[in-house]
């Protein structure tokens, strides 16, 4: 039960994007379509889970004073791995996400979990926490991406419903801010 709670808290109650307002740069930057949001979310989930597990494994070996730089190096290593993997296997998505893949390293949601959770808990609960938080992040990005794609080009996951141009502003920069603003307001309401 405890593990289940640990897993599900990332979706609504402690959602990194909607409630904690962490990692907003990729949230706003890549969500022009649902598929981009999903890809970015899963890449971040991979980094989050791996970094959480490694930090939990070696937490007793790291002197307290250098723990933040050590965490950053661990995170950066996994970011490099996912960067190279995505460039090799999903080049189209890699192009679309562009700069935001290497920037996972400064996503405060990732460092935040390593510092606040993995450095104090067991390997298994850190794994669950990373997975829950990562999927919560993925959920948020996919939802925002879906809303923007639906309004901006009347399509969802690339499937077009109406054969006309959508409300273009939603796929442009301002639409990201508006979409996120109303989703946060909605989530706050749901959380009560």
């Amino acid at each position: 039960m405890n593990n289940w709670k640990n897993f599900t808290k990332g979706f609504i109650k402690e959602n990194p994007v909607f409630i904690l307002l962490l990692g907003l740069c990729p949230t706003l930057g890549v969500t022009t379509s649902a598929i981009n949001g999903l890809g970015m979310g899963l890449a971040t989930t991979f980094v989050l889970v791996c970094a959480n597990v490694v930090v939990a494994l070696i937490k007793n070996l790291i002197p307290n004073k250098v723990r933040i730089p050590s965490f950053i190096v661990i995170i950066a290593s996994f970011v490099t791995i996912i960067d190279l993997v995505m460039a090799a296997y999903v080049p189209a998505l890699y192009e679309a996400l562009g700069l935001f893949i290497p920037l996972i390293v400064v996503n405060c949601a990732v460092l935040g979990r390593a510092e606040a959770f993995a450095s104090k808990n067991t390997v298994f609960s850190s794994l669950i926490d990373g997975l829950g938080m990562g999927l919560g992040f993925t959920f948020a990005l996919t939802l925002l991406g879906a809303v923007r794609e639906l309004l901006g080009s009347y399509a969802l996951f690339g499937y077009k419903f109406i054969q006309t141009d959508g409300i273009l502003v939603f796929v442009l920069a301002p639409g990201a801010f508006f979409g996120l603003a109303y989703l946060i307001a909605l989530m706050k309401k749901l959380n009560k």
Binding site: P102, A173, L180, A181
Partner: protein, 190 residues
């Protein structure tokens, strides 16, 4: 002329915050008052310029000669993190007044993705060193412009009757969206 174009493009057309979504965390977090946002902008200008020069040199003289460009992310974030620490220590000794003004913002800058973003962008765009410096300064000015305008608007927001559900982050994001709309007006001038 070419350098002026780089600056105008970075400040207005491709504004780093409102068009490229880099540095959103300090943009939302440190924009409560105009005074603090000016301080943050100054700190970003300072660190972004130095960080871009140092990382550009590291790319050119260490990573490329040894053919280890894939270490870019790890090398850059370490360099930026230690650079920020160093700037803090040097500033404290050399110019206490500047340290007074920028000091509290410096630790926050390590996790500002705008710094790392610009350092990576200048490599992607294959800029020479001088272009990179100009690009970094332009982006820092763009960041400062956006955050100062935003802080000015937010100071007034506190006095307005915002609907209950939109209080706080949602209202701030709507304002940022309107600001982004305004900046879209610059599209096409360069």
């Amino acid at each position: 002329m070419e350098y002026i174009l780089i600056i105008i493009a970075a400040v207005f057309v491709n504004n780093i915050v409102l068009a490229q979504f880099l540095g959103i965390c300090p943009f939302l977090g440190v924009s409560g008052k105009v005074k603090t946002s000016v301080g943050m902008g100054g700190a970003v200008l300072f660190v972004m310029t130095i960080a871009t020069i140092v990382t550009w040199l590291i790319m050119k003289f260490i990573l490329i000669p040894f053919d280890i460009q894939y270490m870019q992310t790890i090398a850059y974030i370490l360099v930026i993190a230690s650079l920020v620490q160093m700037v803090e220590i040097v500033l404290k000794k050399v110019s206490p007044s500047l340290y007074q003004a920028l000091g509290v913002f410096l630790p926050l800058i390590t996790t500002n993705c705008a710094i790392l973003g610009v350092a990576i962008l200048v490599i992607q765009k294959e800029f020479i060193l001088l272009e990179s410096v100009i690009f970094a300064i332009g982006n820092a000015i763009g960041f400062t412009l956006a955050i100062v305008i935003f802080a000015g608007l937010r100071e007034h927001l506190d006095k307005l009757p915002v609907p209950k559900g939109m209080k706080g982050a949602p209202a701030a994001l709507v304002i940022a969206g309107i600001l982004a709309l305004a900046f879209m007006g610059f599209a096409g001038i360069v």
